[in-house]
Symmetry: C2
Subunit: 227 residues, 2 copies
């Protein structure tokens, strides 16, 4: 490999490698002050991120005051779906951007009245790779896989699995129609992340949602200091 020295002109905010992390740290502090538990939900296109959040918001009802940020290249469809269940939703259009960055999350949060909010869901752009490297200021990263994607996806996406605070395995209602080696999937996860909880869910039937919501409640209690 040969190298060349080049003088280039770059926008300052993106120039600094640490800029994203600095913004994320400030976001994290701001959310902590408000006692908001924030999760970054990362999954492939079609893994069921929006469907899971719809089911979660419906299930939470009035017990919680959530806010949702949702990232997509194009369309407002996810935001519109979620707005039926929550009146604090901001759709972030990333254009050709393959992941959310901390600045987008900060700017989207500025559009919301966060008074009384206690949960923040950030639905990242559908992508198992690029979102992993960007801290958004969340408390927890949740890696969402689905049965229909095949049982090899944990091994093939080691960076997400290694960094995840929770692995959700969605679409378990389709298990009878698929071949999916759950023990093999879990073994792959364990090689990368020995302690991460794995919760099986179905956003369609509601199976497992109680365990996922209990996990959210525990995280929320920890952040708000009531645990």
């Amino acid at each position: 490999m040969t190298y060349e020295t080049r003088t280039i002109r770059l926008p300052v905010p993106e120039r600094i490698l640490g800029a994203n992390d600095e913004i994320a740290a400030a976001t994290r502090q701001g959310l902590a002050r408000r006692g908001i538990f924030a999760i970054d939900l990362i999954g492939a296109p079609g893994s069921g991120k929006t469907a899971l959040l719809e089911a979660t918001l419906r299930s939470l009802g009035d017990r919680r005051r959530p806010a949702v940020l949702v990232g997509d290249l194009a369309t407002r469809r996810d935001g519109d779906r979620l707005a039926r269940w929550c009146n604090r939703v901001v759709q972030i259009s990333t254009g050709q951007g393959c992941h959310l960055e901390a600045g987008q999350v900060r700017d989207a949060l500025a559009k919301l009245d966060l008074e009384g909010v206690d949960l923040l869901f950030v639905e990242n752009v559908g992508n198992l790779i690029c979102p992993v490297g960007f801290d958004l200021g969340q408390n927890a990263k949740v890696g969402l896989f689905s049965l229909t994607e095949g049982d090899d996806k944990a091994a093939k996406h080691p960076y997400l699995v290694a960094e995840a605070d929770l692995i959700l395995l969605n679409k378990i209602d389709l298990a009878p129609h698929l071949t999916f080696d759950r023990a093999g999937f879990e073994a792959d996860v364990r090689l990368l992340n020995p302690t991460v909880p794995i919760i099986e869910v179905s956003a369609t039937t509601g199976a497992g949602l109680d365990k996922w919501i209990a996990w959210l409640e525990a995280g929320s209690a920890e952040v708000s200091g009531t645990s």
Copy 2:
């Protein structure tokens, strides 16, 4: 936005914005000289890219002499699966790389004996976003969606759909167990790409494979000048 001038040291091949396209153009010329029809297969993680190629290789049998390049962040699993059906397979490990680039394809091709080869399948990294922007030297980009991902994925990934020479809709065997608005999906595709063919397939049952193979044969005939 403020700007700053910075002097940085960059590897030369990646420095030039056009480097990828130049390598891709050279690859395309080299493949054309050999009469090889090359496709770049782009789909989400779990959309069934490898399963489709397995079924395709099995179905082609001795009628064709294909070669396969397959990109993944980690593991040799896809390469191993495909090597059961084809003795010219190269697995490209991208590490944290979210897409294949022309240099990786060029280097992988150098590892293969291309004598007599007439079809090249490049299975890109599972990602609907990042691979779209990188020319690999292919003749055709094939966008693979699956029924289990939901009917909104064309609209949400406009760059892939707009650039695709063929849209494959996989996992149609699962249609009875899903809600998927095929007319809506097709309407979204048509808004972005009025003329692209859409072929429904099931890598599991083999449904629709004949149409996909006929499309491959037509492309191959065009490239080899026998059409």
